[in-house]
C-alpha cells in the first residue's frame, strides 16, 4: 500500500504537470515510436491504465468537455426516389476485374547513349544512316536528327533497341530541344467520314503536306548542329555515309 505522502505527491504532480511542462498543442512531426516499448513480442512494458495516461487521453477528454471527440459519419445522401431496377442480371456472379495500377517506366537509357552521340539506325526507312541523338522523350523513345541537310533524316523518334551507339560524340550544347515531346510527333487523327458513298471517295484524295512548323523546327535544330559538325574534320562525310556490313565483317567483333 502506497504511503499517503507518495499518493498525494503523485496526485499533485499529475495535476500540476501542465504548469511545469506545457506540452505543445500538436506535434509538428507525428510521433513514430510507440510509447509502449515491447518486452517480448506481444507484451508491452506498460499496463492499459498507464498507457491511457501516457497517451494523454485524459487531457484530450478534458479539452473536449469530458468526452473523447467523435467524428460521426456524414448522413448518406438520400438515394434518388426513382431508381430503376437493372435491365440485366448476370446468371452467375461476375467478378469485377482488379484495376490495373501499373505505370510502365520509360526505357532506361543505355550508358553509351548521351546527348550528341552518333547513332546507327538498324531498321526502318533510314536503316544504316548515322544520326545524331538529341534527347530521350518521356515515352522512352529517342529524339534524333540527321541533320536533315547532311543525310536526309529529319527530326524523328527511334526506339533504343533499333540503334547502335557509336563512341563518336558531337557537341550539341547550342541546340535547344525543350519544345519537342511525344505530342509533337503524334499523328493527327483522321476525321471519321460519315458512311456515305460520296464522301468515301472524296476522302482518299487528301495529300499529306509537311507543315511549315516542322520545316522551321528542323532548321532551328540543325543550324547549330551543322556548325559543330563542320568544326570536326570528316564528320560531315561520316554522317552522310551509311553503315553496312561487308564480307568478313563480324558484328560481334566490331567496336562501335
Amino acid at each position: 500500500m502506497l504511503s499517503l505522502l507518495v499518493r498525494r505527491r503523485r496526485l499533485l504532480h499529475h495535476l500540476l504537470l501542465p504548469l511545469f511542462r506545457p506540452f505543445p498543442m500538436a506535434p509538428s512531426q507525428p510521433r513514430t515510436k510507440s510509447r509502449n516499448p515491447l518486452l517480448i513480442p506481444g507484451i508491452g512494458k506498460f499496463s492499459r491504465s498507464k498507457m491511457y495516461h501516457k497517451r494523454g487521453i485524459w487531457a484530450i477528454k478534458a479539452k473536449h468537455g469530458g468526452a473523447f471527440p467523435r467524428h460521426d459519419p456524414k448522413p448518406a445522401s438520400p438515394e434518388p426516389a426513382s431508381k430503376k431496377p437493372p435491365k440485366f442480371y448476370p446468371a452467375d456472379d461476375v467478378k469485377t476485374p482488379v484495376p490495373n495500377r501499373r505505370k510502365p517506366k520509360p526505357a532506361k537509357l543505355r550508358a553509351s547513349i548521351t546527348p550528341g552521340t552518333v547513332l546507327i539506325l538498324l531498321a526502318g526507312r533510314f536503316m544504316g544512316k548515322r544520326v545524331v541523338f538529341l534527347k530521350q522523350l518521356s515515352s522512352g523513345l529517342l529524339l534524333i536528327t540527321g541533320p536533315f541537310t547532311v543525310n536526309g533524316v529529319p527530326l524523328r523518334r527511334v526506339n533504343q533497341s533499333y540503334v547502335v551507339a557509336t563512341s563518336t560524340k558531337i557537341d550539341i550544347s547550342g541546340v535547344n530541344v525543350d519544345k519537342f515531346d511525344d505530342k509533337y510527333f503524334k499523328k493527327e487523327k483522321k476525321e471519321r467520314y460519315k458512311k456515305s458513298e460520296s464522301s468515301f471517295f472524296e476522302a482518299e484524295q487528301e495529300t499529306k503536306k509537311l507543315p511549315k512548323e516542322r520545316k522551321e523546327d528542323q532548321k532551328v535544330v540543325d543550324t547549330p548542329l551543322i556548325k559543330a559538325i563542320e568544326a570536326v574534320e570528316n564528320m560531315r562525310g561520316y554522317l552522310g555515309t551509311k553503315f553496312t556490313l561487308r564480307s568478313g565483317v563480324k558484328p560481334h567483333e566490331l567496336v562501335f
Binding site: 533504343q160 533497341s161 547502335v164 553496312t244 556490313l245 563480324k250 558484328p251 560481334h252 562501335f256
Partner: protein
C-alpha cells in the same frame, strides 16, 4: 525499265544457314531450328547474338500484300553445342524445305 535506286543497298544483317531441326538420333523437335551464323565459331561468340531477330525469307507463286516474297520471323534463343551453332525459335515452325537455306540475323534488339 530498271527502277530508280532510291536507297543504296546496305546489309544490316548477318547471313546464316538453317541446318535443320533440333533433334536426337531418331526424334526431331520442329519447334526449334538450328542456325549456323556466318563468322561465329564458338559458344562465347554466340552471346552477342542472343535475342537477335531472325528472318527466314522465301518466295512463293501467289502474291500476298502485293509481294511474292514472304517471311517467317524468329529469334536466336541459345547456343547449341560448342561450335557457334545457335538454336532459334520462329513464330511458326520453319518448313522442312528451309534446311540448308539462308536466314537473316539482324542486329536488333541492340544492346550496344
Amino acid at each position: 525499265m530498271v527502277k530508280e535506286r532510291k536507297h543504296d543497298r546496305v546489309r544490316l544483317f548477318v547471313r546464316g544457314r538453317v541446318l535443320g531441326y533440333k533433334r536426337s538420333k531418331s526424334n526431331q523437335y520442329e519447334n526449334t531450328s538450328l542456325v549456323q551464323i556466318e563468322g561465329v565459331s564458338t559458344k562465347e561468340e554466340v552471346d552477342w547474338y542472343l535475342g537477335k531477330r531472325l528472318a527466314y525469307i522465301y518466295k512463293c507463286k501467289t502474291k500476298k500484300n502485293d509481294s511474292n516474297v514472304r517471311c517467317i520471323w524468329g529469334k536466336v534463343t541459345r547456343p547449341h553445342g560448342n561450335s557457334g551453332v545457335v538454336r532459334a525459335k520462329f513464330k511458326t515452325n520453319l518448313p522442312p524445305k528451309s534446311m540448308g537455306q539462308k536466314v537473316r540475323v539482324f542486329m536488333y534488339p541492340s544492346n550496344i
